[in-house]
Symmetry: C2
Subunit: 233 residues, 2 copies
DNA sequence: CAGTGGTCTAGACCACGGT
DNA sequence: CCGTGGTCTAGACCACTGG
């Protein structure tokens, strides 16, 4: 026997990838049906299904009932962007993390934020500004607005020792969010807190977060000069 | 009967999410075993398994043999970043796409690129510079280096009408890549081709691509002023 | 070493959608 | 219509790992 062990869905997945890469199944072509593949590999259809479903999730093939499984022509690669807390990022660099609260104010929700979050008029929001340092060098300036009605006891937290990011993570089990990345010039507070000349290009991440369709927070995180966000796929 | 239809893995997934969000199962707590949940929901263990496996992939719970399923304390959110070709991005904005080749040169691989790609000394690379326009306004400047030994007949392609991105997609079935995002100042060619003042902050995406562990290409894409990359999770 | 998730099976029924 | 993927089941064996 050349096959000591039975084959698993990973073997099928890898073999399918192999055949796509070696053009056995060119882009746009139709793969055999699950039943045919199951017969070829000598396994149950469920095993083939699991393998092909995974490839479909990765965007390598598309599947349609009755239409069969097809190799995609223009793969829409999905880079998985691990969004974690700043502390993690810094500690993963083997640097010492330091947090500092800059300001904490309870305010009436400004109009632009009302529009962005879609919250009712006259709502109160907690406005926070903080700095995150790595080895005592400025790493990230965080400006955040928290919807008080979504997280009422935010008013009892002073945010002196724990950052709002981590506080919210513990507060809101998990949520959905909308993120945008961009490049902005250093101005006003940014150049001051990040200790850089005016106009310096900075990497900026904005994120709006909802919990069960209630807007919770909007945050703007601006990173130190030269910061790179990396990922793989 | 209050349950006309049998429950599926999605129902279980949603119910588990519900219980996490409503603190029935707080962060860090242990969930019932698959067998127990299957009994509660009146379904097969495989169905529970599929639901929980999906939540584990999303990073909402962690699973360990013998250790059980646990709600994660600090969720590492994974934003899925759809990386597509520029043409797509532009056409999705209902803008007219235009491509222009700026330069095309066959060169000896520079040292920095050798180091980055890990290719042998004296290797030849195709160096390309291109512009992508949306409605005749500069959208993205692309600078690319292609490993000739990985894609030999790149030398036969003039890239006058089809961009290197799309050409490579058709050439290399699919591949893995490393991406980095950053903010850079406009200098030299950038300010010229993107028609902006020197020093303007620009959003830049760098990507190194491999095909079956062979380095294929390195590309630096710099976007027009004010560009935002968006995503959701 | 025993409990838990990881996976496979053989069969079944269903739902979508191309012909 | 009817072929294809989508999903569920009941049972089984395995592999890892915590107590």
């Amino acid at each position: 026997m050349t096959e000591p062990k039975s084959i698993g869905f990973q073997d099928i997945r890898d073999e399918v990838i192999e055949r796509i890469q070696t053009r056995v199944w060119p882009q746009g072509s139709l793969l055999p049906t699950e039943l045919e593949l199951a017969a070829e590999f000598g396994c149950a259809r469920a095993t083939v299904n699991r393998a092909l479903r995974e490839l479909a999730e990765q965007g390598i093939v598309t599947r349609k009932r009755k239409g069969g499984t097809r190799v995609v022509t223009t793969p829409v690669k999905q880079a998985k962007l691990p969004i974690t807390v700043v502390r993690q990022t810094i500690e993963d660099m083997n640097a010492q993390y330091r947090y500092a609260l800059v300001s904490r104010t309870l305010i009436d929700c400004p109009a632009w934020l009302q529009a962005k979050l879609g919250i009712p008029e006259g709502a109160q929001v907690m406005h926070l500004q903080c700095m995150h340092h790595a080895d005592n060098r400025p790493f990230q300036f965080e400006e955040r607005w928290i919807n008080v009605s979504a997280v009422p006891h935010v008013v009892d937290e002073d945010f002196l020792t724990v950052g709002p990011n981590e506080w919210l993570l513990a507060e809101v089990p998990f949520s959905n969010a909308e993120i945008s990345f961009s490049a902005v010039p250093a101005t006003g507070q940014l150049q001051e807190f990040l200790s850089i000349p005016s106009g310096t290009p900075l990497f900026q991440l904005e994120r709006t977060t909802w919990f069960r369709s209630d807007p919770v927070t909007f945050v703007r995180m601006t990173f130190h000069q030269g910061f790179q966000m990396r990922t793989t796929y």
